[in-house]
Amino acid sequence: MRELRIHGRGGQGSVTAAELIAVAAFKSQVFSQAFPAFGVERRGAPVQAFVRFSDSKIRLRSQVYEPDYVIIQDSTLIKDVPVFAGMKEGGIAIINSEKEIDFSVPKGVRLIVIDATKIALEILGIPITNTTLLGAFAAASGEIQLDALEEALGERFRGNLGVTNIRAAKTAYDLIKGAN
């Protein structure tokens, strides 16, 4: 079983991101489970959401303490929240930041910094980065297929909103794939 923890602030769509990843994983023939850290849905407050992936039915119900993957939607969280806590060696941390930032990640963790805010502003016109980061996650982790993610986004966001969110995710996907 692999586990993902998403760190964000209330209003940035971390819970929606977790749900979309779980839906995309399901469409990729993987057992998945997504849930939020409950009850802290205040705008701007630090929030967490979790996703599990497995080849068999998922029974575990606790929160995620030793993630394989971490997504950090807002780099200002790093100084306030132990975002890398418990990360497994060989894990991947994806951070939204406009510049290279000075901090250390745990040993053996691969760090991916992406300016998702810039991509979101260009394509969506608003600084909501969750769907962009999903594209980066798909590319970096391989847990979800891009077409499954696009399908999940298309079902969640109707009309032009779906088109632009898919484009934002794909832009980040291609960027990370290209960097590999």
Binding site: F26, F31, S32, Q33, A34, F38, R59, R61, S62
Partner: protein, 386 residues
């Protein structure tokens, strides 16, 4: 069809397939997503039900009681303080033998205010005359609704029931769930045909007062009906398997118990975490297993005694507190009574109250405490706060 959706939406889909005539509910966290979705379904014409908006949970269940007495299949859902506000009506619904089905997204009870999960709310209504089933995952939640109407409306039962599932932990989690089609559900669950119903052309009264000459017999009959509900559930559970492939013929589920010398006992979603912990502990050579109780009311004492036979040490994982009782947990008292063997150690552990996360390492910790002979206690208290 296997789909992925939020637990609350799986409830709403299941309720829709049961085709209730009347829905009355008042929103409360973490139940809200269920009734929001049902209200949408009614407004969008997907579900042909009367959705009654009310100003409180007391009114919600009162409306359900009246509609049920008039012969309708009815539905409600609530949590925590909402359920406690319904408490008086709960006793009336059971006393008038109305087969109301209600989903309980289990939540702690204030004060202090907590929106998070434990099972104090429904356990507190243990003696209200409603059957109480506890689901481990979204699949059980969904399936239990079909079974609940079938059992509640059985002429040998005619009692209301709670479908209990852990708030947030199940209600707000996305996971795969198989939602059957309408044709299959209708074949399993035919329309409700009440034996007695209110009729304006032939007036009668339900729930009138009973003098000391009559009252006790009503109570006796309710208890008898609850016992009958166990039989009806086994029958419906077997029939369900024929229709849908999933087996609910037993009121308990045994997990790796047959050769165990240590048993955990629990209700609800924590059973999943315990199963994973049991698998890990087995790898370390510990012969542990789990007894999951699906039905808390009726309480399957005989089955529990049989399933735990020969196991010398039993630990009940409790998300409730029976304040002032020796064992502290309401479930443990009855498990101990069911086993009724002074040679067996049965301990309750109060854990996870008010949403405190329960991890596999806590399950191992409970095992260690039980092996040391420490039981009937809280587990995981923050001593620095006391």
């Amino acid at each position: 069809m296997l789909q992925i959706m939020e637990g609350s939406h799986a409830v709403a889909e299941a309720v829709k397939l049961c085709r209730p005539d009347v829905i009355a509910a008042y929103p409360i966290t973490p139940q809200t997503h269920i009734v929001e979705r049902l209200a949408d379904m009614v407004a969008d014409g997907e579900l042909d039900s009367e959705y009654i908006c009310v100003e409180s949970e007391f009114s919600a269940l009162s409306a359900c009681l009246g509609a049920s007495a008039a012969g309708s299949r009815v539905y409600s859902a609530t949590s925590s303080q909402g359920l406690l506000l319904m408490a008086e009506v709960c006793f009336n619904v059971a006393g008038m033998r109305q087969p109301v089905v209600m989903s309980i997204a289990n939540r702690a009870v204030g004060a202090p205010l907590s929106i998070w999960n434990d099972q104090q709310d429904s356990i507190s209504l243990r003696d209200a005359g409603w059957f109480q089933w506890y689901a481990e995952d979204a699949q059980e939640i969904s399936d239990f609704h079909f079974l609940a109407y079938k059992v509640a409306e059985d002429n040998n039962v005619l009692l209301p029931g709670f479908i209990c599932f852990d708030g947030f932990i199940l209600s707000h989690t996305y996971e795969p769930v198989d939602i059957p089609d309408q044709e299959s559900v209708s074949a399993f669950l035919p329309p409700y045909h009440p034996v007695i119903q209110l009729d304006a052309t032939d007036p009668m009264t339900m729930g009138m007062y009973a003098t000391p000459d009559y009252y006790m017999e009503f109570r006796y009959e309710i208890d008898k009906a609850m016992t009958q509900s166990a039989i009806a559930l086994r029958k419906a559970g077997s029939e369900f398997k024929e229709h849908f492939g999933r087996d609910y013929g037993e009121l308990i589920e045994e997990y790796r118990l047959s050769d165990a010398d240590f048993a955990f006992v629990a209700l609800g979603s924590v059973c999943g975490t315990i199963k994973d912990a049991v698998d890990e502990m087995r790898k370390d050579g510990k012969k542990v297993g789990l007894l999951k109780i699906r039905s808390y009311r009726p309480f399957p004492a005989e089955e529990i005694k049989k399933a735990l036979s020969g196991i010398p040490l039993v630990a009940i994982i409790e998300k409730n507190l029976s304040i002032g009782s020796r064992m502290k947990g309401a479930v443990g008292l009855e498990v101990k009574d069911a086993i009724n063997d002074s040679g067996v150690c049965v301990y309750s552990y109060i854990i996870g109250l008010g949403g405190r996360d329960i991890r596999k390492l806590h399950i191992r910790g409970v095992y260690e405490e039980a092996m040391k002979g420490n039981g009937d206690t809280f587990y995981g208290l923050r001593e620095e706060l006391l």
